[in-house]
């Protein structure tokens, strides 16, 4: 079984904004084992 999440989150609007602290960033890598409640991104 598989779960797919699709969601909106803040993003850098332009290359100049790419350092913005409001960007959504994943904190997992491909192939990582994750558990319920563990942060996927912030």
């Amino acid at each position: 079984s598989t779960v797919v999440l699709v969601f909106q989150a803040p993003t850098a609007n332009s290359p100049e904004d790419s350092s913005s602290s409001s960007d959504y960033r994943f904190c997992v890598k491909q192939g990582d084992r994750v558990r319920v409640g563990q942060a996927l991104g912030r």
Partner: protein
């Protein structure tokens, strides 16, 4: 039941052959998994390659197989045998028995054990209000930002599927679905039918709160659950679920090999989609079934039945929709709360 001496040896012989065959299949699977892991460690990305075995799966009655598997797994196991059976399962699929909420003797069947809940505190929920947490135990297959008007997610290198196809053409997804019929009419169904309300979501009724913003990106994350994983689904954030959509598709396996060999796997398989909004905008969770884990149960809608025998198998069949709150506020779900569970068969 045979009374001759020859027949007395027939059943143990057949049982032994079955056990050996299952053992050989499991060993082969472990070997293939190891080879894939080695390739991944070397940085070799696996590519899509449709093969004969995958085509053959298309003509198998996978739904019937899934249901038969579920019935077999629901057979009651004698109390004395339960700990041995579940420990064997845990060894084969790397489950952690110490996390089970109840003593092993209390799980009447493998199905009951499979959907077990966990002891309090086994899965602490990240309290950061700015984070989105994993709704399941599993392996991260893909994640990233959706770019372009078609919103494609890569299944594996060389093949992608579209998010509107995954979530449904009526999705609240804040992007223009490809080929959407602009003149789609609003259709309110019979309210007396279990309070079901069918609303074409092309209307602005539910869309008005989820608008595309230039400052918001669309992201995705695909998580695969192995047979030994904890199979309950939790809420990834505080959000309001507005719509549930059930696609009665096929029930292909969704393992590593299947993702590399079966086209549009997640779009063709039976799935339940929950859509709504969280503080940053749109949120959708799609639970995709498979042959062995064929049905999806929602705690927020206990009446929902998936993997039904009479369902047509054409993936083009429009999904069943349920609007949880026609007023547009939706059903509130707290971060970490149990939403549903994947059942065997």
């Amino acid at each position: 039941t045979g009374d001759s001496k020859g027949n007395a040896f027939l059943v143990p012989g057949a049982t032994m052959a079955t056990i050996l065959m299952l053992g050989a299949l499991h060993a082969r699977r472990l070997y293939e998994d190891k080879k894939i892991e080695e390739k991944r460690e070397k940085g070799i990305e696996l590519e899509f390659h449709q093969d004969v075995k995958a085509s053959f799966l298309g003509i198998l009655p996978l739904r019937s197989i899934s249901r038969a598997w579920g019935s077999f797994m629901s057979l009651e196991i004698p109390v004395w045998m339960r700990p041995h059976a579940y420990k064997a399962w845990a060894r084969a699929f790397h489950s952690n028995l110490e996390e089970a909420a109840r003593p092993l003797e209390e799980y009447v069947s493998l199905q009951d054990f499979f959907v077990r809940s966990l002891k309090e505190g086994c899965r602490p929920i990240d309290p950061d209000p700015c984070c989105l947490v994993s709704p399941v135990d599993g392996t991260v297959l893909r994640f990233g930002e959706l770019k372009g008007s078609r919103g494609m997610i890569e299944q594996v290198k060389g093949h992608s599927y579209s998010v509107p196809a995954l979530l449904g053409n009526n999705s609240l997804l804040p992007m223009e679905p490809e080929g959407k019929n602009e003149s789609e009419e609003e259709a309110v169904g019979d309210k007396s039918d279990n309070s079901w309300l069918r609303v074409s979501l092309a209307s602005p009724k539910l869309r008005e709160n989820i608008s595309a913003s230039p400052m918001k990106g669309l992201y995705y994350c695909v998580i695969y659950l192995k047979p030994g994983d904890y199979h309950r689904i939790h809420s990834p954030v505080d959000w309001n679920v507005m719509v549930r959509r059930h696609f009665a598709g096929r029930l292909f396996p969704v393992n590593e090999r299947a993702t590399r060999t079966i086209r549009n796997l997640y779009v063709e398989n039976e799935r339940v989609v929950l859509e709504g909004k969280w503080k940053e905008g749109f949120m959708a969770l799609a639970a995709v079934g498979a042959t062995n884990i064929g049905s999806i149960e929602l705690f927020i809608e206990p009446d929902l039945r998936t993997n039904k025998p009479k369902k047509k198998l054409f993936p083009t069949e429009p999904p069943e929709e349920r609007v949880y709150d026609p007023e547009g506020h939706g059903l509130k779900l707290e971060k970490g709360k149990e939403v549903g569970v994947f059942n065997m068969g």
